[in-house]
Symmetry: C2
Subunit: 234 residues, 2 copies
C-alpha cells in the first residue's frame, strides 16, 4: 500500500529512509560486511540465483540473507537449506523493503549471531521493478536482475531500476532459443540508461555465466575488506 | 514513488481513490462502456495480449485503450497500429495508475471522440504485481496476467492481485515445454487465494487459448449492454 505525494512530502520520506539506510550501512561497515540489495520483477530468478550463489560461495565466504516478501517464508525456506542464517521480513501490503524494515532484520541478525563473523549479506527485495530502486536499505551495491523473458524494452520503460543498478544480470539465458528476443537490443537499451553498469548474462538452470557473477561478488567483498578506507563508497 | 503509512492515512488515501474510481465508472456506465483494468508483472505480455485482442475484436466492438507506463509511449505506439484510440498516461515515478490519472484519460477520450460510440475500454496498467491491485480506476473487472515463466509460487507470494482478479490469464504457455513448471500447481495455488476466478491458459505467440479469452471479453460486454440494470455490478 502506497501512494504518490507532493514533492515536499516525497523528499521528506526519502530523506528519512536515507538516514535509516546510512545507519544500516554504518553497522555493516563496523562489522566488515558487504551488503547487496537484490532486486527484480517477480519471478526473474532472484531466489534461484541466490541458491546457486550460496552453494558456490559459502566455502570461502560467511553469508547471511535478509529475505523480503509480502507474505510467506517460501523463499526464506529455500535458502535456509544452504545452511546460512536467513532473516525473513514480511512487508504485508508494502511493495518494497525500506531501511527501517531492514534495520529490524540487521538487529535480529546481530542478536542471534556474531555479526562480525559475516563477510556478506544479501538483501532479497520484494519482486517489483519500480519501487525498490528508490529506497536504499544500507546496501553497498544494487544488483538488478532482468529475465530475458520480460522483453527488450524494459530498461526504457522502467528506467530508475536500470539507472540505479551497480550490477545487472540478464537471467534465464537458457530460454533464449525459444524467445523472440534480441539480447543485443536489451544491452543497447540498458546503455541508453546506464553507460557503465556491468551486464552479466546468466542461467541459474544451466549454470552458464555464473562464474562471472561469482567473480564480481568476490571482487566486491575483497575490495571492501582490503581497503577499509573505501567504506561507504563503492 | 510511494511509501507505507499508518492505517488511518491508508484508509483516507484508498477512500479518495475509490471515490474517483466510482466517478469514472459512472461515466463508463453513462456511455455504455465496459472497462477492464489489465494488470501483471512487467513483461508478462499485457501489450501482446491486447495486440491480439484488438486484431480479433475490433470487427465487432468499438474499443479504446488507456495506456499507463512510467515513461515512454512504446506500448501505446504498438497498440495505435490497430487503428484504435490510445490515450497514453505517463505515471512518472508512480508504480501504478490511480483513479485520478485515469480520469484525465477518460476526459481526453471524451474530448477527442464521442465516448458513447465505444463498447469497451482497456486500461493497461503499469507492470507491477503488487500495487495496481489496490487502486481501482473505475473498471468493471480486473484482468490479471501471470506468465508461467514467473514460477508457480506467485499467487501465494503476491496474494492481493490474485484475490482481486475477475479473470486470470496464464500467459506464454508456448514456453511450458522449456520450463520446470507445473501448471496444475499454479492453478492449485490460485485456488488457495481465489476459489472462483476463471483461469485461462493462453499464448499470444501461437494463439492457443485466445478464443476462450475473446469469448470471456465478449460475454462481459454483452452482459452489460443487455442488462443495463447490472451497471456497476459484475
Amino acid at each position: 500500500m502506497h501512494q504518490t505525494f507532493d514533492a515536499a512530502l516525497e523528499i521528506n520520506l526519502l530523506h528519512a529512509n536515507q538516514e535509516g539506510a546510512d545507519h544500516n550501512r554504518a553497522h555493516f561497515d563496523d562489522w566488515g560486511i558487504t551488503c547487496f540489495n537484490v532486486m527484480s520483477s517477480p519471478g526473474a530468478g532472484k531466489t534461484a540465483l541466490l541458491e546457486r550463489t550460496l552453494a558456490a560461495l559459502t566455502h570461502d565466504l560467511t553469508i547471511a540473507v535478509i529475505e523480503g516478501d509480502m507474505t510467506t517464508e517460501l523463499d526464506a525456506d529455500r535458502l535456509r537449506q544452504y545452511g546460512v542464517p536467513v532473516i525473513a521480513i514480511n512487508t504485508g501490503r508494502s511493495c518494497h523493503l525500506d531501511s527501517k524494515m531492514v534495520s529490524g532484520g540487521i538487529h535480529r541478525l546481530a542478536h542471534e549471531y556474531n555479526p562480525a563473523e559475516f563477510d556478506l549479506v544479501f538483501v532479497e527485495n520484494v519482486g517489483n521493478l519500480v519501487c525498490p530502486a528508490e529506497f536504499e536499505v544500507g546496501e553497498h551495491a544494487k544488483v538488478a536482475l532482468l529475465s530475458i523473458t520480460e522483453g527488450d524494452d524494459k530498461p526504457l520503460k522502467y528506467p530508475v531500476m536500470f539507472q540505479e543498478a551497480d550490477c545487472l544480470l540478464l537471467t534465464k539465458m537458457d530460454l533464449a532459443p525459444h524467445l523472440d528476443i534480441d539480447v543485443e537490443q536489451i544491452v543497447a537499451n540498458v546503455r541508453q540508461i546506464n553507460t557503465h553498469v556491468p551486464i552479466l548474462p546468466v542461467s541459474a538452470k544451466t549454470g552458464a555465466g555464473l562464474e562471472d557473477w561469482f567473480h564480481w561478488v568476490r571482487a566486491q567483498v575483497h575490495l571492501r575488506q582490503s581497503q577499509p578506507s573505501l567504506s561507504g563508497v563503492l
